[in-house]
Amino acid sequence: MNGAQMLLAAPEFWVLSMACVIMLVDLFLPEERRGLIHMLAILTLIFAGIITLRGDYLVGGIQSATAFNGSFIRDSMGDVLKLFSFVTLGLIFTYSKFYLRNFNMFRSDFYTLTLFGLLGVMLLISANSLVMIYLGLELISLSVYALVAFNRESSLGSEAAMKYFVLGSMASGMLLYGMSMIYGATGSLGLSEIAVAISNQGSDDVLLIFGLVFVVVGIAFKFGVVPFHMWIPDVYEGAPLAVTLFISSLPKLAAFAMAFRFLQSGLGDLHVHWQGMLQIMALLSIMLGNLAAIMQTNIKRMLAYSTISHMGFVMMGLLPGSAFGYGASMYYVIVYALMSTAAFGMVIMLSARGIEAQHLDDFKGLNQRNPFYAAIMGIVMFSMAGVPPMVGFFAKWMVIKAAIDAGLLWLAIAAVIFSVIGAFYYLRLIKYMYFDEPEHETVVTVPVDFGAALSLNGMMILGLGIFSSSLISICMNSFAGL
C-alpha cells in the first residue's frame, strides 16, 4: 500500500475524519452554539467537493485507478455521483436545520450519522469488490436505521425503524448469500477478477445464476423497486422529514453505482439473465408506483410511491447494458435526487412549528400565500411528471430510448402510458397550490439560507433542463470507455 493509492480515497478519509471531529467537538460545545456543527458539516461537504475535483477524473482524461488491492475504484462516474451527493447533502443539511430546530431535534448526532451515511454512499459508489460493496451498504443501512428512529418520542418512527431494520437485514442477508455463491463459482472477490473468471468459464453455471438472482434482490431492495418496495412508504412516512430527505436521495445514487458495478463491471456477461429480471421489475414499479400514488392523500406516502415509479425508470436505463443506457440511468438518478430533495424541502417549509405537513391539503392556496415558492413546487412537479423544458423530461426520454435500444418497445410504450397516468397526481398537487383557496392565511416564512437553497434547487431543475447539454455530456462521457 503506497501513498498514491491512499490519495485516491482522500475524499473518503476526509469525510470520515470530519465525522469524528464533529462528534468530538459536540462534546465541548454548549447547546446554544450548536449552529457551529452545521457550519462544520457544510464545510466538510465543500472541501470534500474540492478534494474530489482535484482528482482530475472528471476532465483530466484519467480513465480510472484502483486502490486497496483493486477493491476500491476511482473513476469519473464515481466522482460525478459523489459530487452530486455532496450537493444534495448540502441542500439536505440546509433544509434539515430549519426542520430540526422547529421540532426540537437539533442535535449533532443527526450530522454525525448522516456523514457516516455519506461515507457509506461514497464507499459503495467506489466499491470494486464484494467486500467493499457490503461494507458500503451496511454503513448506509446502519446509519439510516438509527436516523429513522431519530425522533425518540414518535412511535411511528420506531415502528418504521423496526420494519426497515428487519427487512433491510433480510435483504443484506440475501445479498451476502448471493455474494458467497458468486465467490464460490468464480473463486474471487474482486469484481474485475469475477468478470475475467466468468468470461473464461462461460456463464452457464447454475451456481452463478443463483448468485445473480440473490444479488439482484439486494440491489432491487436498495432501489426500492417492486416487489421489494414494501418498506418505502412506511419508512418515508414514519421517519422525520429531515431523514426522509436523506433516504430518498443519497442511497439512490449509491444504488445506481452498485447496480452498475455489480451488473456491468462484475456480471456483464450475464446480461441476458439479469435483463429479464430487471425489465419485469421496471415495468411493475412504474405501474404500481404511479397507480398507488394516485390513491394517497398523505404527501410523504405520495412521494414514496412516486419514488418507486422513478426507480422503475432508472432500471429501464440499465436494460440495454450499453454506454448510452448507463449514462441515461445515471442522469435520471441524479436528476431524481435533485427533484426529490426539492419536493421534500417544500414539505418541510410548510410544516408549521411542531406539526409536520402531512396532508396534501397543506398545499392549498400556496400560490396566494407565497407565489414564488408555489412556482418552484410547480417546476418540481412538472419535472417529476416529465413535462419539458424541466430536467425530468430529458431524463425520461433518454431512458425510454434506452428501452427501445434494448428492443423492448412494449416496455417503452407501457412506461409512457403510465407516466401520463402518473402525471395526474402531480397535477393534483398543482391544483391544490394554484386553483384552490388557502385554508388559512399563515404567511410562509423561512430563514434566508433555507430560501436560497430551495430557490437554487428549483432553478437547477429548470436550468439543467434548458441548458441540459453539459450534465448529459458528463454522464455520457463517464461511460465512454465501455
Binding site: 413535462v387 427501445i404 410504450i413 401520463v420
Partner: protein
C-alpha cells in the same frame, strides 16, 4: 433589413415574450396596472419586430428562411434549429397578432393575480412561436409540451366553475397524445442519427415503420386539432377557460395540430398517409357533418363555437389528406395543391373568426356573466355596434362569400370534387349546417325583442372593445376579399410539400 438581424429574429420572437413574462411576474400582484401595461408593451413590441416575417419573406422559395442553427445537446446531435417557410410564417404572424389582442381584450375582465395572468399569456405566446419555428424534433417537442403548462394554469386559475375538471382533462388528453409522438421521434432519431426534421423528410423507412410512426403522429395531432372522436376535451376546455384562454386555444393552439400534420405526418410518412388517408378523411367528414349537428343543439354559446371549431378543423384535415386521392385520380399535383392551400387558408381564417367569436361572447359575458343563449335576446336593441360585429363574425363563420370563412371552405370543397363526389357533397353540407347554427344563434341572441332586464341595461361596446373587434373585422374581410398575399406566401411551400409526398419513401 440586414442579414444579421434576420439570423436572430426568430429567437427574439420566442424569447422576448418568455423573458418578458418573467418580468411581468416580478411586478407582483399588487400592481395590476403596471403588469398590464408592461405586458402590452412587450406583446406589441414582439408584434412589430415580427413584421419582417411578412414584408421580408421571400415567396419564391420553399427553403427555410430566417434560419438560426446552433448546437444544443451536441452529444446527441440535438440542435437549436429555427426557421420558417410558407406554412409556419403565416401562423406565426397570426400568433403575434393575437398576442396583442388578448392582452387588450383582458384589460378589464381579469381582477385576480393579473400579473400571473399576463405572464402566462406572454410565455404561451413565445412557446407557440417556438413550436412553429422549431426544425429540430426534440426542440419541437419541448415547445409543444411546454405550451401546455401556461394553458393548464390559465384554465385552472381563471376559469369557470368546472375549471379543475376541464383543465386536467385538457392536459392529460394532450399529454397522452404527444407521448406516442415522442416515441416516434425517438425512433426517427435512432433510424437517422439526427433530430433535424428536414433530414427526416428525406429519410427512407420501411412501410410498417411508417405506419406506426403515422399512427404516433396521428395520436398527437388528432388530439390537438382536435379530430372526432378525441375532441371531447375541447368543449370542456373552451367553456371553462377565461375569454383570453378560449381565444388562444381556438385561434392558435388548434392550428398546431394542423401544422403538425404538414410538418411531420405528410412528408415523413407519405406512404402510410396515402394508405391510411381514408381514416383521416372519414373522421374529418364525421366531424364536419356530425359535429355540425351537435353544434346546432347547444345551449351554451361558447360550447356552440367550440363545436363549430371542431367542424371547421375537419376541413383542414380533409383538405390535407384528399391530396392523395386527387393525385391518384388525376396524376397531377396541381389539383392537390388546391386542397392543401385551402386547408392552410382555412386555418388562418378560422383563427381570426373563432378568436373573434370568443371575444364577442366575452364581451357579453363580462356584462351579464352568463354564456347561456336563453339569457339573451334582442341584444341588437341595446348594443347596436356590438350586434354589427357579432353578425359579421357569425356570417363569416357560416362561410359567407366576401369573408375569409368562404375562401378556405370553397377551396377545399372544390378540391374534393376531384377526389370523390361524395366527399365534396358531405363537406358541402357544412354550408347549410354552418349557416343553420350560426344564423339561429344570431336570431336567438341578437335579434328579437329585448328578453329581460339584464339585456335592457346593457352598455354598448367601448372604444377598447371596438378596437379589438374592429381589427378582427378588417382582418376577416381583407382575407376574404383579397387572399392573394397569403396564397402567395403558401405557394412555393405547398408545391414543395406535394412533390415530397407523391414520391414513395419506402426502402
Amino acid at each position: 433589413m440586414n442579414g444579421n438581424m434576420n439570423t436572430f429574429l426568430l429567437s427574439i420572437l420566442i424569447w422576448l415574450p418568455i423573458l418578458g413574462s418573467v418580468a411581468v411576474m416580478l411586478v407582483g400582484a399588487q400592481r395590476p396596472g403596471m403588469a398590464k401595461g408592461l405586458a402590452l408593451v412587450i406583446s406589441a413590441a414582439t408584434f412589430v419586430l415580427g413584421l419582417p416575417l411578412f414584408f421580408s419573406f421571400d415567396t419564391s422559395t420553399a427553403a427555410m428562411q430566417f434560419v438560426e442553427q446552433r448546437p444544443w445537446i451536441e452529444i446527441f446531435n440535438i440542435q437549436y434549429y429555427l426557421g420558417v417557410d410558407g406554412f409556419s410564417s403565416p401562423l406565426i404572424l397570426l400568433t403575434l397578432f393575437f398576442g396583442v389582442l388578448v392582452v387588450i381584450s383582458s384589460w378589464r375582465s381579469i381582477d385576480k393575480n393579473v400579473n400571473q395572468y399576463m405572464a402566462a399569456f406572454l410565455a404561451m405566446e413565445g412557446l407557440m412561436i417556438g413550436v412553429f419555428c422549431a426544425l429540430d424534433g426534440l426542440l419541437f417537442y419541448v415547445f409543444f409540451e411546454a405550451m401546455l403548462i401556461p394553458m393548464f394554469l390559465i384554465i385552472g386559475i381563471w376559469g369557470g366553475p368546472r375549471r379543475v375538471y376541464a383543465t386536467i382533462k385538457f392536459f392529460l388528453y394532450t399529454f397522452l397524445g404527444s407521448v406516442f409522438m415522442l416515441i416516434g421521434l425517438i425512433y426517427l432519431y435512432i433510424e437517422s442519427g439526427s433530430w433535424n426534421i428536414l433530414v427526416w423528410h428525406d429519410l427512407l423507412l420501411g412501410y410498417t415503420a411508417q405506419k406506426w410512426l403515422f399512427l404516433g403522429f396521428l395520436a398527437a395531432f388528432a388530439v390537438k386539432i382536435p379530430m372526432f372522436p378525441v375532441h371531447t376535451w375541447l368543449p370542456d376546455a373552451h367553456v371553462e377557460a377565461p375569454t383570453g384562454g378560449s381565444v388562444i386555444l381556438a385561434a392558435i393552439m388548434l392550428k398546431i395540430g394542423g401544422y403538425g400534420f404538414i410538418r411531420f405526418s405528410l412528408p415523413i410518412t407519405p406512404d402510410a398517409s396515402a394508405a391510411l388517408d381514408w381514416l383521416v378523411i372519414g373522421l374529418s367528414l364525421i366531424a364536419i357533418v356530425y359535429i355540425g349537428f351537435v353544434a346546432l343543439a347547444q345551449q351554451d354559446m361558447k360550447k356552440l363555437i367550440a363545436y363549430s371549431s371542431i367542424a371547421h378543423m375537419g376541413f383542414v384535415t380533409l383538405g390535407l389528406f384528399i391530396a392523395f386521392g386527387i393525385y391518384r385520380n388525376t396524376g397531377s399535383v396541381s389539383g392537390a395543391a388546391l386542397g392543401v392551400e385551402g386547408a392552410m387558408v382555412q386555418m388562418i381564417s378560422h383563427g381570426f373568426i373563432s378568436g373573434a367569436l370568443f371575444l364577442t361572447v366575452g364581451v357579453l359575458y363580462d356584462r351579464v356573466h352568463s354564456r347561456m343563449i336563453k339569457d339573451y335576446g334582442g341584444v341588437a336593441n341595446t348594443m347596436p355596434w356590438f350586434a354589427f360585429f357579432a353578425v359579421l363574425f357569425l356570417m363569416a363563420n357560416s362561410g359567407l362569400p366576401g369573408t375569409s370563412g368562404f375562401v378556405g371552405e370553397f377551396m377545399v370543397i372544390l378540391a374534393s370534387f376531384q377526389a370523390n363526389f361524395w366527399f365534396a357533397f358531405l363537406a358541402g353540407l357544412t354550408l347549410i349546417l354552418g349557416a343553420a347554427y350560426s344564423l339561429w344563434l344570431v336570431k336567438r341572441v341578437i335579434f328579437g325583442a329585448v328578453a329581460n332586464r339584464e339585456v335592457q341595461n346593457l352598455q354598448d361596446i367601448n372604444a377598447r372593445e371596438a378596437f379589438v373587434l374592429g381589427t378582427l373585422a378588417v382582418a376577416i374581410l381583407a382575407l376574404g376579399l383579397w387572399p392573394q398575399p397569403l396564397v402567395d406566401m403558401l405557394h412555393a411551400s405547398v408545391d414543395h410539400l406535394l412533390h415530397h409526398i407523391v414520391q414513395s419513401k419506402v426502402i
